[in-house]
């Protein structure tokens, strides 16, 4: 790895990451938006969350994993239950950490027998 190579990567990766972050803010923050666009934006956040969460917990190592040893999926069932009932972010995270840790340890114990 030459120094020039590393710095080219850092600077240009930074640039191509920054520009898509910047343009929507500059274009939209002070524009008046059409009604259909505002209506559409209303649905985007929940869809982004659904898309990020589902692809994180159902797809592991580029494969659909619906089995019981997908601890991401099993832990998330618990976190969903807690999140739904309590609507509490700290409790959701705490229950997630606990469940994931427990299942990870359990899997390790089962495998070692």
């Amino acid at each position: 790895m030459t120094e020039q190579y590393v710095w080219t990567v850092i600077i240009f990766c930074g640039l191509v990451t920054y520009l898509p972050r910047l343009f929507p803010l500059l274009l939209l923050a002070n524009a008046s938006l059409p009604a259909w666009f505002v209506l559409w934006l209303k649905y985007v956040p929940s869809c982004v969350f659904g898309a990020m969460i589902f692809s994180e917990i159902f797809v592991r190592a580029d494969r659909l994993n619906l089995s019981l040893d997908n601890i991401y999926l099993i832990s998330s069932v618990g976190v969903f239950a807690v999140a739904f009932r309590t609507k509490s972010l700290p409790l959701s995270i705490a229950s997630g950490l606990f469940l994931f840790w427990l299942l990870q340890t359990q899997t390790f114990l089962i495998l070692s027998f």
Binding site: C13, S46, F49, G96
Partner: protein, 230 residues
């Protein structure tokens, strides 16, 4: 900034930091093992500031990929921030171009998610948001530095750290789920994202699924209302 608002910022920022400390640490360890220097590692945190973008670019540099292919890959992987910035723009009306330019640099999956749900409640200002972002960015950078210097000394559970952020997303998502249409849209986008992820790489499945499903729901919602008016 008084003590009260500092508390407000920390109260909102801690879930991000909880995930960023171990993941940033892991990223710093990775950079050190890849042969980057501390200045390069930290410059990456300051200039690029994107978890998956940093991991991917370091991994590709280790494989001696061409600079152009790394830049293109990182561009596509981080293109989803375009969507995040579009959504947050609604809450940044009337802000100066300088403020927007600074705010834009801090967009990550996590800072977007936390700020969005905070903005939707009353009393959350763009200034609060940019402070939360700065706290997250600082945490990420310092954790990278710690990882760089402690490489090989401390073992951390990266999977567990990553899952802390997934649990955070689930917690944030649940704020929307009292509305049935939003819930249905979210689940629909989730299923579609899973299907897409098997065909398209570079995290594009998230943007594709979210844009398509939200458009479908927004459009059918408009038609539904018209029918009721008839």
């Amino acid at each position: 900034m008084n003590v009260f608002s500092t508390r407000k910022i920390l109260k909102t920022a801690w879930p991000i930091c909880l995930g960023y400390i171990p993941l940033g640490f892991a990223c710093g360890v990775f950079a050190q093992k890849a042969g980057l220097g501390i200045v390069e590692t930290l410059s990456m945190c300051v200039v690029l500031y994107a978890g998956s973008g940093q991991f991917i670019s370091i991994a590709m540099m280790m494989q001696s990929a061409s600079a152009l292919s790394i830049i293109l890959t990182v561009f596509i992987v981080n293109l989803r921030h375009f969507l995040f910035s579009s959504i947050l723009s609604e809450y940044l009306r009337g802000k100066s171009a300088w403020f927007l330019a600074a705010f834009a640099h801090e967009t990550t999956d996590e800072s977007f998610a936390v700020n969005l749900t905070s903005f939707e409640r009353a009393g959350w200002t763009p200034e609060d948001a940019i402070r939360v972002n700065a706290a997250a960015h600082l945490t990420w950078t310092l954790s990278n530095a710690a990882g760089f210097f402690c490489a090989g000394l401390v073992l951390i559970d990266v999977r567990l750290a990553g899952y802390a952020l997934t649990a955070m997303f689930i917690g944030l998502w649940s704020f929307y789920l009292s509305n049935r249409r939003l819930l249905a849209a979210g689940i629909g986008a989730g299923v579609l994202a899973v299907v897409f992820s098997l065909f398209v790489g570079y995290k594009l499945h998230i943007v594709l699924a979210a844009v398509l499903t939200s458009a479908l729901f927004a459009f059918s919602g408009a038609c539904g209302r018209e029918r009721r008016y008839d």
